[in-house]
């Protein structure tokens, strides 16, 4: 039986090969799992195969994904996104590429509060993305901003991943939560800076402002704000209920759906066919995402079972290299592993092994674990395995996965650049926690 690092190489290699042949992603996982369980455990292990699919598709927190997709679907079909865009156009005025700012903001806010980067990516690719493309915005730049915004969630409070890392690593959870604020803002500035530079260099990436002929009057701005009120019902349904402690993120997703229906009614688009079409479309998109998750879960468990991830971590941890190179390797490992291992499973494997090494090289744990958090979330948007990429593609009917992949890369590199900045200027991470 294959064990340790060879198991990772063979498993991932086979998975990549099957995906490259054009097999549906979930089938690639399914086939590798069938072979691996058959070889490692024999037919007696097949029970865990079905049990893994059952457990994943009955995970309560995953209900957030279809709820956010349904919310986006209703908003898309009820014309709410068009109204939102028109209002932003009127209020912000002639700033070329302004809707990219809206994209990053919405992705970050929804993802932070829901904890479901995948659900938000699918929702925005179903609602915001088609409207942006129709208005002349560049699809790749829009996709990159959605992915990047959704991936900022672990940095901005309330971050579930920060709480888990804090508990596992024994560092201050409140410190870790506060430490993420400045880096989160820094990344937002980097994303928008990159976007505006691209638009400046190539104006065709954003539509011209011919539609806005003059500065809007006060009355037009007030009207635009009034038009935003129905849309804000959705925001309040989700964000308000979570912040007031009335609903969990999953329940808030369902309330957001009701908010979207109210919005549709205000825009005079509410109908039975709207509900029927939205639920059918959402169920299909959610099934595309969740069947991949259901089959990849066992792949992740099998990698842990073969000891592959642990062996690789111990190999890196046991190297006798300079402290800066060790930190680099300790960061590179979760970055790669998180492309195909569940974030929480990876944390459970890696964190206990990393703790004694960190004590030896004497780095600030708060700083290190925040960089670690960024690393594991970027894995979710890094081709070819990042879950968030598949979620975004599921919601974007007209697009191709290859386009999503190429859209993600610049923003992955921006994340890496940001991590280098945080490594050079650790004060960006440690300043706010030092005040408490």
């Amino acid at each position: 039986m294959l064990e340790g690092i060879p198991a990772i190489v063979v498993g991932v290699g086979l998975l990549l090969g099957l995906m490259l042949l054009g097999l549906p992603v979930f089938i690639a996982f399914l086939t590798v799992n069938l072979l691996a369980v058959g070889l490692m455990l024999g037919p007696s292990g097949y029970g865990m195969f079905i049990a893994s699919m059952f457990d994943t598709t009955t995970t309560n927190s995953l209900v957030t994904i279809p709820m956010f997709i349904l919310m986006g679907e209703i908003l898309f079909r009820s014309n709410a996104v068009d109204v939102l865009f028109h209002s932003i156009d009127t209020i912000v005025g002639k700033v070329r590429g302004r809707q990219y700012v809206l994209t990053v903001l919405l992705a970050t806010i929804f993802s932070t509060l829901s904890g479901a980067a995948m659900g938000v990516a699918a929702m925005l690719s179903r609602s915001l993305l088609p409207t942006m493309v129709a208005r002349g915005y560049d699809s790749k730049l829009a996709i990159g901003n959605i992915l990047a915004g959704a991936s900022l969630a672990p940095l901005i409070p309330p971050s579930i991943l920060a709480i888990i890392v804090g508990m596992l690593a024994g560092v201050s959870i409140s410190g870790l939560l506060i430490a993420g604020i400045l880096p989160g803002l820094m990344f937002a500035v980097l994303f928008l800076g990159y976007t505006f530079i691209r638009v400046r260099l190539d104006p065709s990436l954003a539509p011209s402002d011919e539609g806005i002929r003059k500065e809007p009057s006060v009355g037009e701005v007030v009207m635009a704000l009034v038009q935003l009120i129905p849309f804000s019902i959705v925001i309040i349904s989700v964000i308000g209920l979570i912040l007031m402690g009335i609903a969990t993120p999953t329940e808030a997703g369902a309330m957001g759906v009701l908010g979207a229906l109210v919005t549709a009614a205000i825009y005079r688009r509410f109908s039975l066919s709207l509900i029927k079409d939205s639920t059918i479309s959402s169920a299909r998109i959610a099934a595309m995402i969740l069947i991949i998750m259901a089959t990849s879960k066992l792949f992740s468990q099998l990698l842990a079972f073969t000891g592959g991830a642990t062996a690789l971590t111990q190999l890196v941890a046991g190297l006798d290299v300079a402290p800066w190179l060790m930190i680099f390797l300790l960061m590179a490992l979760p970055f790669i592993l998180c492309m195909f291992i569940d974030q929480i499973a990876l944390m459970l494997i890696v964190v206990p092994i990393y703790i004694p090494i960190l004590n030896n090289i004497g780095v600030d744990p708060l700083w290190f674990w925040l960089l670690f958090l960024i690393n594991i979330t970027v894995g979710g948007m890094t081709p070819p395995f990042g879950y968030t990429l598949f979620a975004l593609k599921s919601g974007w009917e007209d697009g191709r996965l290859a386009e999503v992949f190429s859209a993600a890369w610049p923003f992955v590199f921006i994340f890496i650049l940001g991590m280098v900045l945080l490594a050079i200027f650790p004060g960006i991470v440690t300043f706010l926690p030092s005040l408490i």
């Binding site: 054009g22 089938i27 009955t58 595309m288 991949i292 259901a294």
Partner: protein
């Protein structure tokens, strides 16, 4: 060959009818999740008597939604796939590669359905219940997974043998 296809046509129509009904069931399950959560929040915060079943039922509905929808999704070629290589190859060769992929997919799904059937029968005989607050038998949900994989597998075979001009799926990368 054409006679064989003609004789299968009524069966294929039944399969399509079952699958499209499954897609409807999946959509209803999603709508039910919204209704249940809204009811739960009202009961918990306005009436002060939270339900004990809402969270469990929502989880079951998620499973129902995913596996009820999967066959029709497969029939439409809606599953996410990376078709870079088939796209770059000459059309005839790319088409063959895609069909080969569908065939492998069909085999994988049918094998999972076989495993699922064995597991469903085992749980039925033992009357195994879910480990949830409201305990229900596990086997009906495993039966749905089994049927879904069987049906999806059959659709993959249909995609393998359908007319060459229709070979692409909507989920292509």
């Amino acid at each position: 060959m054409s006679n064989a296809v003609s004789s299968l046509r009524p069966l294929l129509r039944v399969q399509d009818a079952v699958s499209i009904a499954g897609q409807g069931l999946g959509a209803i399950a999603l709508a039910a999740i919204v209704v249940i959560y809204a009811y739960e929040i009202i009961m918990r915060y306005f009436i002060g008597t939270p339900t004990v079943w809402a969270s469990d039922f929502v989880s079951f509905l998620l499973l129902i939604s995913v596996f009820a929808v999967l066959p029709w999704l497969t029939r439409d070629g809606g599953n996410v796939a990376v078709t870079l290589l088939p796209d770059y190859l000459p059309p005839a060769l790319g088409d063959k590669l895609l069909r080969f992929g569908f065939f492998i997919s069909g085999l994988a799904c049918l094998y999972v359905a076989y495993i699922g059937l064995e597991e469903t029968l085992r749980l039925f005989e033992r009357n195994t219940m879910t480990l949830t607050t409201v305990r229900v038998p596990r086997w009906p949900m495993l039966a749905l997974i089994t049927l879904s994989m069987l049906n999806a597998g059959l659709y993959f075979f249909r995609l393998t043998f359908r007319h060459a001009t229709n070979a692409a799926g909507t989920g292509r990368a």
